[in-house]
Symmetry: C2
Subunit: 389 residues, 2 copies
Amino acid sequence: MSKNESMYKISKFAAPEFIFGIDSIDYVKRYIKNFSLTHPMVVTDSGLLSASWAKNIFKQLEGIDIRYSIYDKVSENPKDYEVEEISKVIINCNCDSIIAIGGGSVIDAAKAGGIMCANPGSIRDYEGIDKIVHPMPPIICVPTTCGSSADVSQFAIITNTDERYKMAIVSKSLLPDISIIDPKTLTTLPKELLIATSLDALTHAFESYVSLGSSPITDMFALKAIRLIFETLPKVAKDPKNINYLEDLMLASLMAGMAFSNASLGMVHAIAHSMGGYKDIRHGTCNAILLDSVIDFNYVYAAYRYDKISESLGYVLEDLNEIDRKKILIESIMNLKNKIGFNITLKDLQIKESEIDIIAKHAVNDPCMLTNPVMPTFEEVKEFIARNI
Amino acid sequence: MSKNESMYKISKFAAPEFIFGIDSIDYVKRYIKNFSLTHPMVVTDSGLLSASWAKNIFKQLEGIDIRYSIYDKVSENPKDYEVEEISKVIINCNCDSIIAIGGGSVIDAAKAGGIMCANPGSIRDYEGIDKIVHPMPPIICVPTTCGSSADVSQFAIITNTDERYKMAIVSKSLLPDISIIDPKTLTTLPKELLIATSLDALTHAFESYVSLGSSPITDMFALKAIRLIFETLPKVAKDPKNINYLEDLMLASLMAGMAFSNASLGMVHAIAHSMGGYKDIRHGTCNAILLDSVIDFNYVYAAYRYDKISESLGYVLEDLNEIDRKKILIESIMNLKNKIGFNITLKDLQIKESEIDIIAKHAVNDPCMLTNPVMPTFEEVKEFIARNI
Ligand SMILES: [Mn+2]
Ligand SMILES: [Mn+2]
């Protein structure tokens, strides 16, 4: 390290251009033209093709005579070999761009696939931060969940099938050229998924707020996202088709995305990636399960940050000591969970005693752990999982 | 307009990558390398060359053996002919990029100059929205004021010398590749300018909040910027060298910038551009002078939006009728102005009766007027100016 350190915090910020609003998918054709694209590869998954808003996109492409190919076999947690296949298909079909239509998995796969069209070797070589050299072809994202917001983040999460954990690839060039964000795409998302992905967004907001990489701007996004999700989830649980609630969830997800994309994440994701990777469990579910116990673990190291979250949720902490403050925050999450009927716990995942080692090992090496309020030791993570399963 | 309109609001958002923080200008060399630039044109103005942070930039360039040229004759309100000259100098010196170091004027000039390297004709041809075709060479911005935030906006304001008014050129391709935002650059800004530009930022925040082009995200930026400026300006007026206050002003300006860049502006700027253009008056001063009387004019058309601004400043409006609510907001601005010793009024600008017509004519045609809460008629603008001079 050079001659003398000073302690002012410097923060970077990057976000893609996006267009937001109900019926904004009517703009797909507009950007195809603006970017003068001729042959996009539509990366999606089969369950979405029957939705009315999806048909509407294909009609737009045909409406301006654009030939397109479709790749629709992306799995729940995209694997490294799927990424190879995608990049191959793109090159073989001579596509000059990508349209990614789907949730986190689809978009991560599409982004990783795009990257591997322009970078050599395999996607594993680019695990970590800022390792990508060449940009990918133009890519348009159409998110259909309100959780992972991979459409505005510099992250791609791909499962490494050999060692069965999720790799985090972080780089600015994973940002799409544009993201078209239309709440209407959530009207066909089953309630259960709607909830799981919203809890994912909530975790992004929590983790980026207490992360060591936070900045005033990501703080703003994170807090706003937390408030919106706390207000809207209970209502949406009662009324899952209400377009106004879906708009708020989408907005919350967008902001949580821009927050974690620039502030990074923490221990919840570090464990969720390794546990999710190892056991092939839905990502949002892992997060929702781990969130309150990670807060329990992290609290003492960033009390005053977690306190700010509680205060902006309207709790008055003035005369409470630290233990009560922690309790309040954790309970507010548990109330939220059972108000919306989410009551899976770590026990329900049947994690066997023998799997804890390997899960903990991957967790401590996950890049997300670097910005956790504290660097837990290998032992602590093991014991942390053991205490909760 | 096509067959049937629906009323959901769609909003676009674009922002450049930026890096923010005290001492962040130490990263200039890093981005020169990342973008692998070899010969930047440094566009600035002479008063800045003697500052310690400025020397530090040049040393960084020399430290990595980068040749650079300097153009430092940008005037307070850059004129169309200066833009021609800049684009010429860039081409003649074979520069492959631009480093813009300065306030709004410098950056607008540099951006417009860059644009004219890649687009034919004169800058006048690109007045209005979305008229630019080709992107400009890579450009790095280093803002040195906390007002216009041209470094993160899709605007360039160039004075049309024939008809003596300011043109607004609006396009996504006016976004720089990166903006390096360091509050330390404000330590050499004289107090008077510091205040004028902060009031400019305040106006950006006000106008983008009540603009017809506002969105939840720009709302957030605008409100936060307004609070920060109301809190910090009075303190900075007493202590103009305090680095912590300068940081807050810079942050406020950044956010106000991203707000107006995506929501556009309104009547204050429409008149400030034409009045400022016609009389060659400092931009921030015009805005600061016009802000409260434009609120007086606009209030009835967007009462509940202005009310939200008052409420977030901590005023309780519950039992007040509309006249008092307006009064409260206007007074809070006037208090701010005389707390910081800003007491110039329109009268001090000696605008002659005979100049009103021409000023009003340009104002109603300014693109900023399109998103004003109400479209004033030519008559109303004349009468508005007459009433206040
Ligand atoms: Mn996540
Ligand atoms: Mn301005």
